[in-house]
């Protein structure tokens, strides 16, 4: 069976750093930016371990802002 690799695109301007996606990720891919903030002052989410992403889209489902887009690729 082909392996699925995922990628999470973040609308950083809209992210409010609520942490829900970070908690929902089964493979600990996501983290809130420890230093950088967006123009509202929120620590936005980013892919800390992009290689671990399985494209399950849990983060996309729980994001209350709808600011995550998940892509899946067969490798």
């Amino acid at each position: 069976m082909a392996k699925i690799k995922g990628y999470v695109e973040v609308n950083t301007a809209r992210c409010k750093g609520c942490d829900l996606c970070v908690v929902s990720c089964p493979t600990d891919v996501l983290e809130l930016q420890p230093r950088e903030v967006n123009d509202r002052g929120y620590h936005f989410v980013y892919m800390k371990h992009p290689d671990e992403c399985i494209g399950c889209a849990n983060c996309g489902y729980v994001c209350p802002e709808g600011c995550l887009t998940v892509y899946r690729m067969k490798v």
């Binding site: 409010k16 609520c18 509202r40 002052g41 929120y42 209350p64 802002e65």
Partner: protein
Amino acid sequence: MAEEISLMKGNEAVAHAAIRYGVDGYFGYPITPQSEIIETLMEMAPWETTGMVVLQAESEVAAINMVYGGAACGKYAMTTSSSPGISLKQEGISYMAGAELPCLIVNVQRGGPGLGTIQPSQADYFQTVKGGGHGDYKLITLAPNSVQEMADFVALGFDLAFKYRNPAMILTDGVIGQMMEKVKLPGYRPRRSEEEIREQCPWATLGKPASRGPNIITSLELDSVEMEKNNERFQAKYRVVEENEVRYEEIKCADADYLLVAFGSAARICMKTIEMAREEGIRVGMVRPITLWPFPSKVLNGYAGQVKGMLTVELNAGQMVEDVRLAVNGKVPVEHYGRLGGIVPTPDGVLDALKEKIIHE
């Protein structure tokens, strides 16, 4: 247009509700976590449809004084900000209370003191209900706990403000402001005409006809005898508000042995705590004050004879707990649980605090 159901943030709901209510002027200044209100208004451009003015002032101080000007003409004028910005507006709020001008102010609280953090907090409770600005005045204070109430309280706030000629405030926080939820928006109301304002607000400064003397809007009175009379008039008005406008919600109170007291976002968290406690066989209820001033003291005093203890849950170091203690006057133990600086309490944290501080398990 008629009512509409939508999914949006609490902040966006305030903006939509303001346009639909027929507000004449919005004067604001951006600050997280409140900026979506002014952003939504700018995006919707109501000056092209209802004729509502939306203006980003040069500062918070300018914004509140623009509201003063609008309100003096009997217009529906409002401003919104978050904690540091609301501190800047306090002088204007005191002046408006002194000049008996109605307006709506929204405070989407964030953690303080100082610039603090941009995460939610309820630490402006004292500032809002105990004064904030100088002088003996009171602010009609509404505390929404949902996006629906954010929308509804725009209308309620203006109605109460104009009924009593007093500023009203929606005291909310970053949780409710940023949270997305289903909301039923009211239908559009046309803005009032000059004639309607003249009729409803005979005190408004809209030009002096020959039939009456000039209307003067001021908070200044250098004659102390007159100023005392003014103050007595304000106090008499505040007693009427306290008598007639107390609003609160009682949740599972009928058989409760223990009572949680919480407002706004803290009350949302406590809903889950009540569920968890009842699963364990602990009968917990909650009184949620909707008006923080006037405070539902009589209701809480009534429960003092029924429950074994009360716990206030707040996103602060213990502010409303003092009003609850005054209300029950020593009849039952009242303790406080809160998280500070932008941290939001968890339902289990509240339950543990209830067991530790009130049930003494």
